[in-house]
């Protein structure tokens, strides 16, 4: 760990010999700023930071906001990859700022940070998530059952639980949906995240609303608009096989009919 850091400190050409083993390097962050109260246009702004490359992009954003420019606006809540608030486009790829280490994204070049695409930018890195959550709500992401409620918990075998384990990991950060080229062009498409969360209940043995959810996703803006470009699987910070989940919903729709 220490060796590459030392090398980078040397490359940065630390002026005084005393700083030779400092872990800090100079990194340029190129952030796409947008403030509708000042200008209709978004523009790129560079910030130079002395920062440890083992820190995360979110730490750099904090440093900029707290020490350089307090007007920089972004979302973050837990800052540890669980809340899904800080999905953003870093070096052209959707990632969570709180899970991306600076050393992993080539800090020798300027690191670009911009808002996720396909959703309306409100300010700087903050987008309007409402279309995203509306699609999420439309697939009814809650347990639907009939009959009397059992007095105990609803039992399920380990295999049945395993069936939809992958899609339970979604944190609704919108990294997948905002990396989908179909969603970029047509916000009417449900998007990968909504389908993943429908998948989580469609393949749950305890749930009885699968048929309704499949019917919703069978619509013209449902799963059939997926072009299997795999952007969503690549973007998912939780490593969910999103495209596979979408394909499984397609297969369920076809085998249900024939």
């Amino acid at each position: 760990m220490a060796t590459p850091t030392l090398e980078k400190a040397d490359e940065a050409g630390a002026p005084e010999p005393g700083f030779a083993d400092s872990p800090y390097i100079t990194v340029t962050f190129r952030i796409r700023r947008f403030n509708p109260e000042v200008s209709e246009e978004a523009s790129w702004q560079d910030f130079q930071l002395e920062i440890d490359p083992k820190e995360r992009v979110l730490d750099a954003l904090h440093k900029i906001k707290w020490e350089l420019d307090g007007s920089l606006t972004f979302r973050r809540s837990c800052a540890h990859g669980i809340c899904g608030s800080d999905a953003m486009r870093i070096n052209g790829r959707n990632r969570l700022a709180c899970k991306t280490l600076i050393k992993d994204i080539n800090p020798e070049k300027p690191i670009t940070v911009e808002a996720i695409k396909g959703l309306t930018v409100m300010k700087d890195l903050v987008v309007d998530m409402e279309p995203f959550f509306q699609a999420y709500r439309d697939v009814m992401p809650f347990l639907i059952t009939t009959g009397n409620e059992p007095t105990r918990e609803r039992r399920q075998s380990a295999e049945d639980r395993e069936r939809f384990d992958d899609t339970t990991k979604c944190i609704l950060c919108a990294a997948c949906t905002s990396s989908c080229p179909v969603f970029w062009n047509d916000g009417q498409y449900f998007g990968p995240a909504a389908i993943v969360n429908a998948h989580r209940f469609i393949f749950d043995s305890r749930d009885e609303g699968g048929e309704q959810r499949l019917e919703i996703l069978n619509d013209k803006d449902g799963v059939w608009r997926c072009r299997t470009t795999f952007n969503c699987s690549e973007a998912c910070p939780r490593g969910i096989e999103v495209t596979k989940a979408i394909q499984e919903v397609k297969r369920a729709l076809i085998t249900r009919r024939f």
Partner: protein, 158 residues
């Protein structure tokens, strides 16, 4: 409120800050999900179209590659193609069915592919509608004309 929003938008050229009495204009999403989204269902059409693409694709691989092989490679290749060659092939019902199937599947497969491309890329509702109308017209015309020729082909035409 809306009148103030408009006036603020009109003077957006000179840099000025908005405040409580003079709010920034609301930015609408390019194509918001509406209440109708996810309701107006067209039944199974999208699923059937998706399935048709896969199935017709498999059949077309055989039909088109066979067609290219016969027309361009075997028996002297492209130089043999002429009126007599076509007349000879269409004397047999087998090749009539082959060509008819290829015409229909290829045209519908291509048209459906273009339909999805238009759906994905045309931004305005009007553009999308008219592009699709143009596509459907061209498809119907080509399919009908080709079918007519295959069925009414007269080898003794002067």
């Amino acid at each position: 409120m809306s009148a103030e929003t408009t006036s603020a938008g009109a003077t957006a050229n000179d840099v000025r800050l908005y405040d409580v009495d003079n709010p920034a204009p609301v930015i609408e999403a390019p194509r918001k999900r509406t209440k109708k989204t996810g309701r107006a269902s067209r039944g199974n059409f999208e699923m059937q179209a998706w399935l048709f693409m896969r199935l017709s694709g498999i059949v077309l691989v055989v039909l088109v590659l066979g067609h290219l092989l016969i027309q361009l490679v075997l028996d002297g290749g492209v130089s043999k193609i002429g009126f007599a060659f076509v007349a000879g092939r269409w004397a047999s019902p087998f090749w009539q069915v082959w060509d008819l199937l290829m015409l229909w599947l290829a045209m519908l497969h291509g048209a459906n592919g273009l339909r999805t491309v238009i759906n994905d890329y045309a931004q305005r509702d009007n553009t999308r509608f008219w592009l699709k109308m143009l596509l459907y017209t061209a498809t119907v015309f080509t399919v009908l004309l080709g079918t007519l020729v295959i069925f009414t082909f007269d080898p003794n035409i002067s």
